[in-house]
Symmetry: C2
Subunit: 476 residues, 2 copies
């Protein structure tokens, strides 16, 4: 964060967010940005990632900063770099310039937030400053700043979603309701992230035929993200073992008969994420078995997107994907039975064991730091059913939400080789027929979708999903 | 960390390290690997980086593991993945298989390390386990594990180098003496990191003429590192503003008359680092002013490397670089005076304000988590002199050490525009002459050098330093 452009659309967007917050809570709010985490020693840190709640109201990834929001007013607390730091880090903006760039009405050094020490010099169980007294906050991820939050607020500030209480819980609910519905400024950023992620996937496809290990394809994709001044929104998954859902290995050799699954998304400099998965044939040509199962997943993907509109329950989209996949597997002779009955018995989850998606925003699983507070409508909790437990989102859709739609088909040994499950479903799964699809380990197709007043807009639509178009991109 | 190959040379190397440690300390040692740090929410983490001290004795980047070393024996403490995790992370190795891969004689779950709780269920001020009682350790970087260390050891475990004491300090000194002199296994890893870093720099040079912003060159370089299954050992510096020493910005447009400074190094999967800087002309052709100053820096670089042999004081290499740069600037008419006198008055530091290098190993600034314990010979401390204060290494060289040699020339506004310094050096610097070199903002040339019995071996020698060869690589 070195250069500051005066960006009135940012200032206006931030102001609108603050004014909306002021209609929802009647107490002051303090949000910390956090500090970078050390990697192997203190001066060698991971790239700084500001807290998403801070970013939403401050717009810029300011390290070790605090904002105070009250009645639509924004007060910034940040220390200026020491003159000596100019040698190592160049000239950095002055406090007042940063304040002006984000529309803050006042700006102070961090020491303003400190409580008075007591007569014994202790800084605990003492009087908080007038800035922090009675203010609500949300616990940040890095431990150093989190410890600071305790001292500045002179009380517990919980990060465990289950323990957040009082005005902090009220604040969390208010922020959830704001961040859930994206404004134009957010959508512009989300579209930028989507465009770069699309280019990354195209580069990955084009690099596949010359690659011999997964890491080379990952590298071609992340190159695009880095070249565009963005970062990865999450650890990329680029693997011929798509059946390992959170695969963070990239050393496998890629075989000419393999499918490659890539779940890679960019994040803009101000933190807005994209999340795209495509699956392609390493050779550039899907086999007939790969083609059949891919089209089952694609049918589920397309059916969900076609069903999106305000008022629709996201859980029903998940069940629609489950039914579409079950029906496709019946058609292919892998499953036997009635579709409704198969889904009721969680048979789809043998092959599609995760939820159909999640909300997307500043976090790839947006607001997951608040547990299920954002994902689940108040009063709802996770189902115990194997086929629903991993659903991250259970709310009616509203215009302005962005969700992912990401059905998949996987042959997970830990599921399909489980003797208990094999016994339970022995009359339903045709294991011999399934064995003919051994060249499919994992397929997922994931897009980012904006719920509009009348339906849906796929933010990632410029990246094709149809087999023919993908084959062309790989062969290009 | 998914696959385990039985690697007898790793097992032998680790055993030799343990046996050496056993000759240096007569108490048991516990080393924690640490846990991954959250990025914006708990499930979205930065890539896991194990503690370097752990890696040195355990060889593998095992997350949330502890090793105990006593009398040459290795005991491993690690929990096995839950069966449910196979769905998300695939099959992971069993505890006993990991133990076998690193030559551990026994392996237990982490709970073995827990102290007995007292009758009120408290876990503080209670009896430590027999595994941890009386054992020395070193504080890790991540806060969660650091808090665990307190509880397991039932005492303070300091991370601030200045506060480490007792057997922990004895341990730190013993580890410094071991890690300072690299064994064959370490050198093999350091050479691998060097080779990939060299390829990254060549890719960066080749990508420059088609690039319009710094980020594109950075991307071309990091692509090579990622494609080879390695990570960046530190935040890359890739900039036309080389005068900002720790520049972490990549958005500047690159002009055809600019010099580009790239300080980029790879780290192997087991943590061994490389650290290379090259400076090249964006157009592929150095201007005559750029050429003159580049050759001054190169002369300092070559003189230092030629002077390396066991027994030489690293501080003397720094002063040799300072004298060579001062002499070059006198020749160019930028400085006036006698070289010895200029260096005594810190005039070189106007243009070369940092140290000539540091030790290199598992950390890019090796063992910097221990403050100056590794960098400074016992009894020595940092100088107050502007021209020496930033020196990270002040010890006599020994065969088996790896150091960087990285002289530079920079026009740092914060230094050269400082009225106090301009007044102090007004008769020494020819400011008009200096103004003719305005197309040089920053030049650094950095190589990784192994001290041998008879002199030096440049691990990064396959990447040229001479202008003609670099021009060819940029134009290729
Ligand atoms: Mn997703
Ligand atoms: Mn260096």
């Amino acid at each position: 964060m070195q250069t500051l452009d005066r960006n009135t659309s940012l200032i206006d967007a931030l102001k609108a967010r603050r004014l909306k917050l002021a209609t929802l809570v009647d107490f002051p709010v303090l949000l910390w940005s956090g500090q970078s985490s050390p990697r192997n020693f203190r001066a060698n840190t991971f790239p700084f990632r500001a807290s998403s709640h801070f970013l939403y109201f401050a717009g810029l990834p300011l390290e070790n900063a605090v904002i105070r929001l009250e009645g639509g007013r924004l007060t910034l607390f940040i220390d200026e770099a020491s003159p000596a730091s100019a040698l190592w880090h160049g000239e950095t903006p002055k406090r007042d310039d940063i304040a002006a760039a984000i529309g803050a009405t006042e700006a102070y050094p961090l020491s303003e937030l400190k409580p008075e020490k007591n007569e014994r010099g202790e800084e605990w169980l003492v009087t908080p400053s007038t800035w922090t007294n009675g203010a609500a906050t949300i616990g940040v991820q890095d431990g150093k700043t989190h410890a600071n939050q305790y001292i500045m607020c002179q009380r517990n500030v919980f990060r465990d979603a289950g323990r957040i209480e009082g005005i902090d819980l009220e604040l969390a609910r208010a922020i959830v309701s704001l961040r859930m519905i994206h404004d134009e400024f957010a959508l512009t950023e989300l579209r930028k992230a989507a465009m770069v992620s699309i280019a990354a996937h195209k580069a990955g496809m084009a690099a596949t035929r010359c690659a011999s290990v997964e890491a080379e394809i990952r590298a071609a994709m992340e190159r695009v993200i880095i070249a565009n001044g963005m970062t990865c929104a999450y650890s990329s998954i680029v693997t011929v073992h798509g059946e390992v859902l959170h695969n963070d290995q990239y050393h496998h050799a890629i075989g000419s008969g393999d499918l490659l699954l890539a779940d890679v998304g960019a994040e803009t400099a101000s933190g807005w994420a994209s999340d795209i998965t495509r699956t392609w044939a390493v050779s550039g040509k899907f086999s007939s078995t790969q083609r059949s199962l891919y089209d089952v997943v694609l049918a589920a993907h397309d059916a969900c997107i076609a069903a999106i509109r305000p008022g629709v329950e996201y859980r029903d989209l998940h069940l629609l994907a489950a039914r579409t996949i079950a029906a496709g597997l019946v058609d292919l002779g892998i499953l036997r039975g009635q579709v409704e009955d198969l889904v009721d018995r969680d048979v789809h989850a043998l092959f599609f064991p995760h939820g159909v998606g999640h909300i997307l925003g500043l976090d790839v699983h947006d607001m997951e730091d608040l547990g299920d507070l954002a994902g689940y409508e108040t009063g709802r909790t996770r189902s115990d059913r194997f086929g629903l437990n991993y659903l991250r989102l259970d709310r009616p859709l509203q215009a302005g939400m962005v969700v992912t739609i990401e059905p998949g088909f996987y042959q997970v040994p830990a599921i399909l080789q489980d003797p208990e499950r094999r016994a339970k479903y022995h009359d339903i799964v045709d294991w011999d027929r399934l064995a003919q699809f051994a060249d499919v380990r994992g397929i997922r197709i994931e897009d980012d979708v904006l719920v509009t007043e009348t339906g849906a807009e796929v933010l990632t639509a410029a990246l094709p999903t149809e087999i023919e178009a993908i084959e062309q991109l790989v062969q290009s």
